[in-house]
Amino acid sequence: MDTQSQSWWQRFVAGLNEFYHAPYRQTLARAARDEEDLFMLLLFCESLGIDNPASFYTLELQPIFLEQFHEWHQRMGMPRCPLQHGGCC
């Protein structure tokens, strides 16, 4: 397959992918955000010392998710970081 036909094929596949994904991008993004919100809630529970079954994972992941945690607590109506120690803002 030469370069020209390959690029045509790649363009075709890209268009096909767009045709498949675009109509439901918003729905899926919303669902992903809801999942993330639940996860963040678990992280928050962890910080308050409330037992949760996924504590082993959530506590470990807190530093990695700090930026997302910041977006989440603002989305949840808390303009400042709710954590007492080592928060995000």
């Binding site: 045709f19 498949y20 675009a22 439901y24």
Partner: protein, 555 residues
Amino acid sequence: MNSAIVLLFGVLAMLAGYFVYSKMFAKHILGLDNSIPTPAHTMKDGIDYVPTNKYVLWGHHFTSVAGAAPIIGPAIAVIWGWVPAMIWVVLGTIFMAGVHDMSATWASVRNKGQSIGSIAGSVMGGKVRTLMMVVIFLLLLMVNAVFGVVIANMMIKTPTAVIPVWGALVVAAIIGQCIYRYKMNLAWVSLFGVVALYGLIYLGTLMPVAIPETVFGLPDNAVWILFLFFYAAIASLLPVWMLLQPRDYINGLQLFVGLILLYGAIFIATPDIVAPAINHNLPASTPSIMPLLFVTVACGAISGFHGLVATGTTSKQIDKEEDIRFVGYFGAVGEGLLALGAILAATAGFATLADWEGVYQKFGDGSVGAFIDGGATILNNGMGIEIVLSQTILTVMAALFAGTTMDTGVRLQRYIFQEFGEVYNLPALKKGVVATLLAVGSCLLIAFGAGGIDGSGGMLIWPLFGTTNQLMAALTLMIVTVILLRKGKTVWYTLAPLSFLLVMAIFALILQLKTFYSDGNWLLIFLDIIILIATILVTFESFSVLRREWRQHRA
């Protein structure tokens, strides 16, 4: 008259509309300007607002707006003769639908990609927005009820389509898993999907499935309707990536394949139209062509539903303003072409006039059945595909369209009920299952309430659905007219179709009210009155807003 000549005339007229009329409208009225950045760029978020290639976006817009309605409406309307239906489809597409879709997209692009409901609120006030929400709810209610009845009829009429129609769900589910779980290449998955679907169609012709005429005392029609709504309820609760998304995708591919097959067969077989140009031998109790033609054919001539798509998703993905013309206007042309194909299949696919009259024995007859039988004859003559296989292909095409619309419609209704739960603080209504049961229950009430226990009279709702659809289109055109008036532009291009639609809608509702009253159908009388009140309110609101704007503009 030869169908190929009629088809050629229709296609050329619509293309002329695109190349001449839409160009003038885009340049002088809307003032499309590529130097103005679109929301896809200014609000780009990688989710809703994404600049998209205009051909891909046209594909979206077209496949989102084209469903079973541009097949059903025209295939019913040919009872008055093929000429009125064709003129309405061609002129409606050129002067109304194209303008409607294009200007709705434009209005949204110039208002940060807002939906038509939000624009209604900001341009016309809360009263119009509330009216619009009522109209949208009624539109969804009726489309789900009618499509349930239509698919049930198709399952009984063409038993060979049962396996492919339901098998398509399995194919869609497999595609969904391949894309999301196994990250497979979409091109190969698509090829598998199309091959599997057509394999199922062939299998269906070998293994027709018919359920008994009565099951637990219920007629087969009613059983299929219940079964369909049970499925729609389950489907609306599943995550979209599992079923709805791949199903929509297969439908899109199937739409292009079906149109190419049908148009190709008409040009190869060139069958003569056997139906009368204008039918002077109308069956008794057929309603008057004026105004019923203009509400019987909504999708395919002008449809308010397009405004929801144009302002819901399309406008957020417009890359350059000038793309609006291609995506909006040409999207409407695509639907017009589908309606034109339906008219020719339902009028040229019969051997004699007597055969055709045998199908169209009363208003509401023919419909999808005539499209399938007539289209299959044309496919058989043009492409050499055997008649049973042709019937199955066209049934699957129509049933998949109607089914996907039902899936989406029930899901949207569920959201509306859940929103009611949020607004009025009703905890039970916020639950997905309860809201789904209410959505499905209200649709079943309409389907059986309008047509009795076998649901066979469900098609009585069709003109009411068309009227509601035209009312929605009128609302969208009114918003665009007000925006144009404020910009000091000529408004006649949108005001004329808006006035025409409102007059026809009121006229049709009054006539139908008389019919429902003489039939003693209280459920439809109630629905008719609600829509009539909404139409009158819209008319008065339009008149007062336009008069106020006109005065301010001239002052």
